[in-house]
């Protein structure tokens, strides 16, 4: 990523020592979030999410395909993320790099392992035909915290997806069957300060990152630590707590934005 001048680093650390952040937020606060669904008419579902200046578009396409031999009666989902050069002067065209792969895999696992999509309801003909759900994440504007923006955009897109049954002559379209979504919240640590929802500047000086997805019962549904720094056990506990708190608010906004 871009090299942040040492002077800016000092500035951010000094701010943090005084309990402040560049944009006036508290350590545990998210930036302003906007969620807009139905933004791409060709997609079966879509959502654009802004977290501060970060902007992510997630689009859902569905098709009919063969199930995996070991799960002959469940639908198939795949997640791809592209750090397209549109979004940052530092992203390059070409095959996905480690960063994009980790992003896609974390979002994918967040959806897959939480069984958000009821894939067992996506069987059309056992062993022959099942619905396939393609989640494609497009980063439009990168100003920090892609994990949460990508995850939230994908949730909003999936929760407003219509199964295009009519196009395949399988009756009327109907909403994609979805369970309760886990909400992903990401924190980073630098100079022994832990902050929620890092801006790009904060990401650039971050030593270690932790993403925690929690559900409405305050249970933990996924975690991913990143970067070469380390956390103490105590810091992890605090991050989990802050993730649950922010998760609650974001969940409310998500439901409101999709009209539920």
């Amino acid at each position: 990523m871009t090299i942040i001048p040492a002077i800016k680093k000092d500035y951010l650390i000094n701010l943090a020592k005084n309990g402040k952040r560049e944009d006036g937020r508290g350590f545990d606060d998210f930036r302003n979030i906007e969620i807009e669904t139905g933004v791409v008419s060709k997609a079966e579902g879509s959502a654009r999410v802004k977290i501060g200046n970060t902007q992510v578009l997630s689009g859902i396409k569905m098709d009919i395909g063969e199930p995996y031999p070991d799960t002959p009666e469940t639908g198939v989902m795949t997640t791809a993320a592209e750090l397209i050069p549109l979004a940052s002067p530092d992203f390059e065209a070409g095959p996905p790099r480690e960063d994009a792969i980790e992003l896609a895999r974390v979002v994918d696992r967040g959806i897959r392992e939480s069984q958000l999509i009821e894939v067992e309801k996506l069987c059309i003909e056992p062993e022959e035909k099942v619905w396939m759900v393609f989640i494609d994440i497009h980063i439009l504007d990168y100003d920090g915290n892609l994990f949460d923006a990508a995850s939230l955009a994908s949730l909003a897109a999936l929760m407003t997806t219509n199964v295009p049954a009519k196009r395949f002559e399988l009756g009327d379209d109907y909403p994609l069957p979805i369970k309760e979504p886990p909400i992903s919240c990401t924190s980073v640590k630098f100079d022994n300060v832990v902050v929620m929802d890092p801006s790009l500047d904060e990401e650039e000086i971050a030593e270690v990152r932790l993403t925690v997805a929690t559900d409405k019962n305050e249970d933990i549904r996924a975690m991913q630590k990143g970067l070469n720094g380390s956390f103490t056990r105590d810091e992890i506990k605090k991050v989990i707590k802050a993730s649950i708190d922010n998760g609650k608010k974001i969940r409310e906004q998500l439901y409101k934005s999709i009209g539920k």
């Binding site: 791409v40 060709k42 689009g59 098709d63 549109l86 979004a87 439009l140």
Partner: protein, 241 residues
């Protein structure tokens, strides 16, 4: 391109347009935070986002031109922008479109001012109907202005085509599939010089002239929309709006 579907009814086209009528076009400049210049454009069912970066040093070095900047347009369709999901990454079609758009933009940019540099124009098609290359080039031009890249002119693109033996402006989706010719052009509006020109299908020389005139007319209408979008951005910036 076959003519099986009925594309006209009572002299009007399937979407209610007259033969010489454009689809609805909406242009907004300066919509992204990171990009040095950006533009969001809706053109009928097309939705296109463009971001411009540069001029900056071309890397790797062997791609540098010691006398001028290189202009690299990258036209990309989002996987979800079409009916059947498109595999991510460039295909032959998108690489050809990237090439012809790069060439058209290079013509108007003052590339001699920035030796060894690259100017990157990233065009993302988020929703695709017919005519994405014209939409992409038109939006790219606005994003370049927004980025402050010095240019001789603001290029603009539009297509005309033939459906049921009639020459019409700006083919829509079904018209593109069932029409019998498509002629996208891009021009430099100040000089009328032709920067992009492709033709597929079947046109007599007369029809070609007619289609060309119509496409030109479309270009000039859209050129005004481009300028308006740039003005709006500028006014917003200085607080006039």
């Amino acid at each position: 391109m076959k003519s099986e579907t009925k594309l006209f009814e009572n002299g009007k086209r399937l979407d209610g347009r007259m033969p010489d009528e454009l689809r609805k076009i909406k242009i907004k400049a300066g919509v992204l935070h990171r990009a040095e210049g950006s533009c969001y454009l809706e053109w009928g069912g097309n939705k296109v986002m463009v971001a411009v970066y540069g001029p900056r040093e071309a890397i790797p070095r062997h791609t540098q031109n010691p006398l001028r900047a290189i202009v690299t347009a990258r036209y990309n369709m989002a996987a979800f922008s079409v009916d059947d999901r498109k595999r991510p990454g460039p295909d032959r079609r998108s690489r050809e479109i990237s090439k012809v758009i790069s060439e058209a933009l290079e013509n108007v940019i003052l590339v001699e001012k920035f030796p060894r540099a690259t100017i990157d124009v990233n065009i993302e098609v988020l929703d695709a109907e017919a005519g994405t290359r014209c939409a992409g080039l038109t939006a790219a031009a606005v994003a370049l202005v927004d980025a402050g890249i010095p240019m001789k002119d603001i290029p603009v693109a539009c297509a005309a085509g033939k459906i049921e033996d009639q020459i019409v402006l700006d083919l829509g989706k079904d018209e593109d599939n069932y029409g019998s010719a498509d002629l996208p052009i891009a021009i430099s509006p100040r000089t009328g010089n032709i920067l992009l020109l492709q033709m597929d299908g079947h046109l007599t020389q007369e029809e070609f002239d007619k289609a060309f005139d119509l496409a030109l007319k479309g270009c000039y209408i859209i050129s005004d929309l481009q300028k308006q979008a740039i003005l709006e951005k500028y006014q917003t910036k200085i607080g006039v709006e």
